[in-house]
């Protein structure tokens, strides 16, 4: 009997203070501790509170995934960590720009498949297209696979962004910071002059 725990892909969302070096902290944590990153996206999501959201797709056994979440929670500028994969249903999307080159039948075929996949041509010359496509990673993979024999030139992908289904948001969801679901007030610091 094989009792080796299975490594599964998890999509993890991390809400961070948008301060200098925060991405380096997160990436350094993954490389330094030997966790793998399958995709990573980051952008500011709240300009007033200066918060960014990082979405990471990683792979690991349940014990490793728990470590990853706890290690992320340990980083000082991290507000909250959410394991979207294990905390109920979520929506995940990726965007890709796909450049395909060809003429004649190959060109027509690529356009036909793009139509089926609901990819949009956002640029075209007489012998090339750039398709824009949004969808799950698997859907993008499938489309790109089909384009390969038809003259695939290059691909640019955003990596996965994801969000939990339903009405509740990040902060009022159950999982706040990994290091405690209770948030005692920080020790008061009085500064006398």
């Amino acid at each position: 009997m094989n009792l080796e725990p299975i490594a599964r892909a998890h999509t993890i969302a991390v809400l961070v203070d948008n301060e200098a070096g925060v991405l380096a902290r997160v990436v350094g944590l993954f490389s330094g501790r030997g966790y793998n990153i399958e995709s990573l996206t980051v952008a500011e999501v709240d300009a007033v509170k200066r918060m960014s959201r990082i979405t990471i797709v990683t792979k690991g056994t349940p014990m490793v995934i728990e470590q990853i979440k706890n290690q992320l929670g340990r980083l000082v500028p991290v507000h909250a960590v959410q394991d979207l994969t294990s905390e109920g249903p979520h929506v995940a999307r990726e965007l890709a720009l796909i450049k395909v080159e060809g003429t004649g039948e190959r060109r027509v075929e690529s356009l036909r498949i793009a139509d089926i996949f609901r990819a949009r041509a956002v640029d075209s010359t007489t012998h090339s297209f750039i398709f824009e496509m949004t969808g799950s990673t698997e859907k993008l993979d499938a489309f790109i696979g089909l384009m390969r024999p038809l003259g695939l030139v290059e691909v640019s992908r955003t990596g996965v962004v994801a969000i939990r289904r339903g009405a509740s948001g990040f902060e009022n969801g159950k999982m706040a910071r990994a290091n405690g679901d209770e948030r005692p007030r920080a020790k008061k610091q009085r500064v006398k002059v």
Binding site: G21, A24, N70, R177, G180
Partner: protein, 586 residues
């Protein structure tokens, strides 16, 4: 309230440190911190201790912090000043020691230009600090320094770097009065989950072969945590073992204390770990020096783990109940539940368990062969203990066999009395750490138990020790070898002692004298007591060169890759075959 003062960045640094209650800064000047040194010159609240190499400042701050429970502070210049503290920062990170390190940086407009003495300090120190900051505006200096102290001491303590560009030190900024900093993101959990605590107490009461396995986290949690631990252990009557980092959290001479656990821990401790039915881990992190081969680690036990850092729980060893919280707070709650529900331990089972433990104790695993003509290192430590017992003493160590013998043979009755580099195992830690301890406790007896190889790594700090009249004692177990490495070569590499013989050693007595310290030497057992006595009673810095048996090895030992119950108890134990897997583990 928006009362504030306008000061230079450098003045704000000093003001913020004083407001944090800092009285001592260990440091070394240079171009990029000159404005801060100028501000130090102009005041009398902070005392600056000038070390001889920045590494010394880092370990001194660690020694200061560990022996007082306060945050240690150091100040160094940019570039080489900052890179010289990387080892000390990593050491503090591994051992959860709260220190704040202020580094100078080139002016902001020069950052990234390969300017003179520029180093990417925040980049270099990111993985070896709990957090670090580059301050780009004098208005932020005060807030950042207060935040740095908060981060260093809260939750799982650790080192924090604040990088201060020279223009920021020179320009005018606001230092706000009476601010209340509730950190935006970092709020570690202190109180344990009450449901889990109740379940844990029930489990503790029902145990037949229980064992407390406690570590450095108890010491991090402060004196009160040690008192609560002692109360709980005595109330239950259960046996307790400590990690290397946890020594002193429970009185070392108490009969319920089994001694240190782990690779060079006591036989009875390791066998109790292997055979217990309930392990209560308190502020200890299941380090590989303790668990040995993970798949064979205490398979029959249920485990409770109390730790303030969720990432310590279920990291190496899965546990049944993991309680995130401060040791002090959680132990307090455990005691309350235990008393309220009037739990009683299973007296009959406990009696049988202690009977078994006494049998393991009967092996007398620290036994060694005494000799009349050479000093055995264990004997030297035993005699040292005899002379310092009951005194107001603090011990630091370097890294190697001498460190392990000190851990085995010295017993600590209180926390904060034992300073050693556990996680990183930094040779050269002990002397500067002792210096930091002595600065904090000027009248105490502070002894660095050293090896002749390790002591040479930061020997320059003897000069600092002389300058500030710090009566630190250095007790060198001089075996002419990097003994710990030689022991491994014996075990793993057929006794081929590649580069572990310490040739061309200095004459430590003359070396001490050259620095202005007192040098002593003992080469024969009958000289030992006199030398120790003299060392202790001399009111000056002393280096005692204790010439010991060069061939002695440190036992018990769990060979690498072996299970924690497969211990070698002495040289007479057949050398085991070390698996290829074992050879890969250091």
């Amino acid at each position: 309230m928006s009362e504030y003062q306008e000061l230079t960045g450098a003045e704000i640094v000093i003001k913020a440190l004083v407001d944090e209650g800092v009285d001592i800064v260990f440091g070394y000047p240079g171009g990029a911190v000159l404005p801060i040194y100028d501000a130090i010159f102009a005041q009398n609240s902070l005392r600056h201790i000038l070390v001889r190499q920045e590494a010394g400042a880092a370990h001194a701050a660690e020694g200061y912090a560990r022996s007082t429970g306060k945050v240690g502070v150091l100040l160094v210049t940019s570039g080489p000043g900052a890179t010289n503290v990387v080892t000390g920062l990593t050491d503090a990170m591994m051992d959860s020691i709260p220190i704040v390190c202020l580094t100078g940086q080139v002016a902001t407009h020069l950052i990234g230009n390969d300017a003179f003495q520029e180093a990417d300090t925040v980049g270099i120190t990111r993985p070896c600090t709990k957090h670090n900051y580059l301050v780009r505006d004098a208005n932020d200096v005060g807030r950042v320094i207060h935040e740095a102290f908060y981060v260093a001491r809260s939750g799982r303590p650790g080192p924090v770097v604040v990088d201060l560009p020279k223009d920021v030190q020179l320009s005018i900024g606001r230092y706000a009065a009476a601010t209340e900093v509730a950190h935006r993101t970092y709020r570690p959990r202190v109180k344990g989950d009450s449901t889990k605590i109740e379940a844990a107490v029930a489990m503790i009461a029902a145990a037949k072969r229980p064992l407390f396995y406690t570590g450095g986290g108890v010491i991090n949690a402060g004196r009160r945590a040690s008192e609560l631990l002692t109360e709980l252990v005595r109330l239950t009557g259960y046996p307790i073992t400590n990690t290397l980092m946890g020594l002193g959290a429970y009185p070392g001479s108490d009969p319920q204390f089994l001694g240190m656990v782990g690779m060079h821990g006591l036989y009875e401790s390791n066998l109790a770990m292997a055979n217990c039915d309930l392990m209560i881990a308190v502020g200890s992190r299941f380090d590989d020096r303790v668990t040995g081969k993970l798949t064979a680690f205490s398979k029959g036990s249920k485990k409770i783990h109390i730790d303030i850092d969720p990432s310590s729980i279920n990291k190496n060893v899965p546990v049944d109940i993991g309680i995130v919280g401060d040791v002090g707070s959680v132990l307090d709650d455990i005691l309350k539940v235990w008393k309220k529900k009037r739990y009683k331990p299973d007296a009959k089972a406990l009696k049988a368990w202690w009977k078994q433990i006494e049998q393991w104790r009967g092996r007398d695993c620290l036994r060694y062969r005494k000799t009349a003509d050479v000093i055995k290192p264990q004997y030297a430590i035993e005699r040292l203990y005899h002379h310092i017992k009951g005194r107001d003493a603090y011990i630091t160590t370097e890294v190697g066999q001498h460190q392990m013998w000190a851990a085995q043979f010295l017993r600590f009755e209180e926390p904060n009395r034992w300073m050693t580099s556990g996680g990183l195992g930094t040779m050269g830690y002990g002397l500067p750490a002792a210096m930091g301890v002595q600065v904090a406790h000027p009248d105490a007896l502070v002894i660095d138990v050293a090896g002749e190889a390790s002591i040479l790594m930061n020997i320059q700090e003897l000069s600092t020790i002389i300058q500030y009249h710090l009566p630190v004692k250095v007790f060198i177990l001089n075996n002419h070898y990097m003994g710990m490495v030689r022991q491994w070569q014996e075990l793993l590499h057929g006794g081929r002692y590649a580069e572990t013989y310490m040739d061309a050693l200095p004459d430590f007595v003359k070396l001490a004298e050259a620095f202005g310290a007192v040098g002593l030497r003992a080469s024969r057992p009958e000289e030992l007591d006199d030398v120790i006595q003299q060392m202790i009673t001399t009111p000056h810095p002393v280096v005692a060169d204790i010439v010991v048996d060069p061939d002695e090895n440190c036992f018990p030992m769990i060979p690498s890759g072996a299970a924690h119950y497969e211990m070698l108890l002495g040289p007479e134990d057949a050398k085991p075959e070390i698996s290829a897997e074992g050879k890969m583990l250091v």
